[in-house]
């Protein structure tokens, strides 16, 4: 996807966007509130500007084809979207109906709808629950239900806007484990906007940093970690683990591999001879 400029609602929300999201990647979008991350998500799915209005210059290409002139629902077959308010994205009264909705609308035959529905529910950890009413499902389960309805159309890209903002740590971890499983199994490209980057760090392959409507940095984890750290303003957007990595590297000149979880950091630091022992007063 590349798009030089995107305007929205007469207020410049995104500008000079030159961006390519790699196929099959697990891309994480980070940035301060109001930077334009949500608008970026909507641009990828064609909602902005075709559904929500606004204007843009340049081109948004998804999967090799421009999004210009495409119906939003046709694009949705290739690019799934889960917004922060996933609750309001659920349209039906039972789980089975919800997953089948999009398929039925696009004219899939009944047998196939049934098959895909049951597979999608299985994939998200809600097997056999076609007849469950919405209010029989917990918040986390409803989120998974929406994910199932997105999966049922077999999209190539799935975009999620802050999926775990209100979750407790257990919930957040298990959701990302699920997303990773889908990523591995189906090779779907993921684009996730996230503030709580520590939960997505074990799975991310690429990062995009958005600031004031512009792309401040984009690339694979290896490329981004050092460059973003070098800029003091962007540094705070990085996962905390990498901020530590950058700070220690800057202070000691040592080289570190890319840590994915705290244990990685502990192991490598110990291996490199770091030690504590100096009792600093808290």
């Amino acid at each position: 996807m590349t798009a030089p400029v995107i305007n929205f609602n007469e207020k410049l929300v995104l500008r000079d966007i030159n961006l390519a999201v790699e196929k099959g990647s697990f891309t994480v979008v980070i940035g301060p509130s109001g930077a334009g991350k949500t608008t970026l998500c909507k641009a990828i799915t064609g909602i902005v500007p075709y559904y929500m209005g606004g204007s843009y210059a340049g081109d948004v290409e998804v999967l090799g084809a421009s999004t210009k002139g495409k119906r939003v629902s046709d694009l949705a077959l290739k690019v799934g979207l889960m917004l922060e308010d996933y609750e309001s994205q659920l349209v039906s009264l039972t789980a089975g109906e919800e997953v089948a909705f999009s398929l039925l609308n696009h004219g899939f035959p009944a047998e196939e709808v049934k098959e895909r529905t049951s597979k999608a529910l299985e994939d998200v950890g809600l097997p056999g629950r076609e007849d469950y009413q919405l209010d029989e499902l917990s918040g986390g389960q409803r989120q998974r239900l929406l994910l199932a309805s997105v999966l049922a159309v077999h999209p190539e890209i799935i975009v999620l806007d802050e999926p775990v903002s209100a979750m407790d740590p257990d919930g957040a971890e298990s959701l990302y484990a699920l997303l990773s499983k889908i990523h591995q199994e189906y090779g779907t490209t993921f684009v996730v906007v996230e503030h709580r980057v520590e939960f997505v760090l074990p799975y991310a392959t690429n990062f995009i940093a958005v600031k004031d409507g512009q792309i401040a940095a984009a690339g694979t984890c290896e490329e981004v970690a050092d460059d973003v750290y070098a800029d003091p303003e962007l540094r705070v957007l990085l996962p905390e683990l990498w901020q530590v990595r950058g700070e220690l590297a800057a202070k000691t000149g040592a080289q570190f591999s890319l840590w994915r979880k705290p244990a990685d950091a502990v192991d490598e630091l110990k291996a490199q001879g770091f030690e504590g022992g100096v009792q600093a007063h808290a």
Binding site: H195, E198, G276
Partner: protein, 266 residues
């Protein structure tokens, strides 16, 4: 001062939400209330605010049993800030929003103005006092929620997950406001949160609930740097604590850790 004595509570369906809770929160404390979803944290604070009443046991606010009270009676002692800022907006300007409480309590116009101005100043919303609340940014709305709770001058603030959905800068700002209120004005802060980092850096006491039972009551430092089964309780250690514990140094945040392991002079 908030006190819970032998509290047992369940909603109509019969599943016990709180069991045998005993705790006391003194004036001026900064307490973080932690636990997995459904552990009873919000319920406990609702009991303190008399939004619900316990099956058995006593809830005392400043020594008075609240069993016959309703939340309006406690509005000038406890300010309760709910999780969703949009659902709490009741007026058309920021000023009127914050003035809601004082007006309902029929304070004089001068008093109302003073209370509102103080509250707005504490949360740095004075410039926005004539703005339409729904057009504020999410972070500003959260601050508005706190300001509204402060309007009646309560000595305690209960805040339900107010760091959700905010970026790092906004979170830090909010916590600094709370810290200022706590340190300069002696306001007791009771914070329900999932953000362990915030707990380690700002709270001085952590109360952990699991399945309605109290499992920990102590300092965040002990909680995260000790050997408690925090994962079983649905919590995670903040990065600084994990690193600090592994290298046997003491660190409240990552910078301190880096300084400690590179043996910088303090």
């Amino acid at each position: 001062m908030l006190e819970a004595k032998n509290i047992n509570f369940s909603y109509r369906r019969g599943v016990p939400v709180l069991q045998d809770i005993n705790c006391k929160i003194d004036d001026g404390e900064f307490v973080a209330l932690l636990g997995h979803n459904g552990s009873g944290k919000t319920t406990l604070t609702r009991l303190f605010m008399a939004l619900d009443h316990p099956r058995s046991g006593q809830i005392l606010v400043d020594g008075n049993d609240v069993v016959k009270m309703e939340p309006a009676d406690l509005a000038d002692k406890i300010g309760y800030v709910f999780q969703n800022p949009d659902l709490q907006i009741l007026a058309d300007t920021v000023f009127e929003e914050v003035a809601y409480g004082p007006r309902v309590k029929k304070l004089t116009e001068d008093s109302v103005k003073k209370q509102v101005d103080d509250a707005l100043e504490a949360m740095e919303l004075t410039d926005l006092s004539q703005s339409y609340p729904r057009l504020l940014s999410f972070g500003q709305k959260r601050r508005l929620g706190v300001a509204s709770a402060l309007a009646l001058g309560p000595k305690t603030l209960i805040l339900d997950e107010i760091t959700n959905g905010q970026d790092q800068a906004e979170k830090v700002k909010m916590m600094e406001y709370l810290q200022a209120l706590n340190e300069k004005q002696g306001v007791t802060i009771v914070l329900i949160t999932h953000d362990m980092d915030v707990v380690r850096r700002y709270a001085r006491r952590a109360l952990v609930l699991t399945d309605g039972k109290q499992v920990f009551d102590g300092t965040p430092k002990d909680l995260f740097e000790g050997s408690y089964p925090v994962e079983n309780w649905g919590l995670r250690r903040p990065l600084a604590s994990v690193l600090a514990a592994a290298f046997q140094v003491s660190a409240g945040n990552c910078h301190e850790f880096c300084a400690a392991v590179t043996k910088e002079a303090k």
